[in-house]
């Protein structure tokens, strides 16, 4: 089955991002396909490469990055959610004349159309957080 995930909760203050990763790992292990993971609302902080996790805790951005690279999963940060929260790639940083970019490699900034497309092309959509 082809899944797409919508994640809303913050990686720091909600279990949504961690639960979604477990779900994503289990679905790949179960032979399913992940079409797209769309980070919306507070979940966009998962794409912040400047996140520093406490030493005894997993760093969710790096875990997602590693998972997506290994399984070739498309990860999209909602661009309007991300801009509001100060998460930008090089292109947006230049467009808004910011003094730096902080998006983690492996993520992509794009619009809600990417989520609508994922809803249309997946067999099941699953929401985490909210």
């Amino acid at each position: 089955m082809k899944f797409s995930l919508l994640i809303l909760g913050s990686p720091q203050s909600s279990p949504a991002v961690a639960s979604a990763l477990k779900f994503a790992q289990a679905s790949i292990a179960g032979g399913h396909e992940l079409f797209r993971v769309f980070f919306f609302h507070d979940a966009v902080a998962t794409g912040n490469r400047l996140t520093v996790a406490p030493q005894d805790q997993a760093c969710l951005p790096l875990e997602w990055q590693g998972f997506a690279k290994q399984h070739n999963v498309d990860m999209v940060l909602c661009v309007s959610s991300a801009l509001r929260r100060g998460i930008v790639d090089q292109r947006e940083a230049e467009r808004y004349r910011l003094d730096g970019s902080n998006m983690l490699e492996g993520f992509e900034l794009s619009g809600l159309g990417q989520w609508v497309e994922a809803m249309l092309l997946s067999d099941r959509i699953v929401t985490f957080g909210g």
Binding site: L8, H41, V116, M119
Partner: protein, 118 residues
């Protein structure tokens, strides 16, 4: 044409979930999905009339919702029980809605290709 039912459960202010759900509804409609919205639990507060956000500076959810029919989003459905338990009725709402009973919601979900709850 694919169809989407958005289930809106969040109060209009305090978090930006209500606003973001409206954004998804509008984006989906722009991609030619047939979009309906069901307001339930605290989500019914989004539909209250005379919302005034001048003092708080938040974006007014009532005016965002009022634009939905212009983008062909509808019907707007409301869980009657959520209204009742908050001592609200249809006359407290800012726009025309269809009332539904909790027992009808599972059938309603089955009528749409996709269901998204925020």
């Amino acid at each position: 044409m694919s169809s989407l039912l958005m289930i809106c459960r969040k109060a209009p202010y305090g978090t930006s979930y209500a606003r973001e759900a409206i954004d998804i509804a509008l984006a989906a409609s722009a991609f030619d999905l047939k979009v309906a919205m069901l307001f339930t639990d605290d989500g019914v507060y989004q539909l209250l009339r005379h919302q005034d956000t001048t003092a708080s500076g938040s974006k007014n959810v009532e005016s965002l919702l009022s634009s939905l029919p212009l983008y062909d989003v509808g019907p707007l459905l409301v869980n009657q029980q959520s209204l009742d338990s908050r001592h609200l009725s249809q006359k407290d709402l800012s726009m025309p809605v269809q009332l539904c009973q909790p027992s009808e919601i599972s059938q309603l979900c089955a009528n749409y290709d996709r269901v998204l709850t925020i």
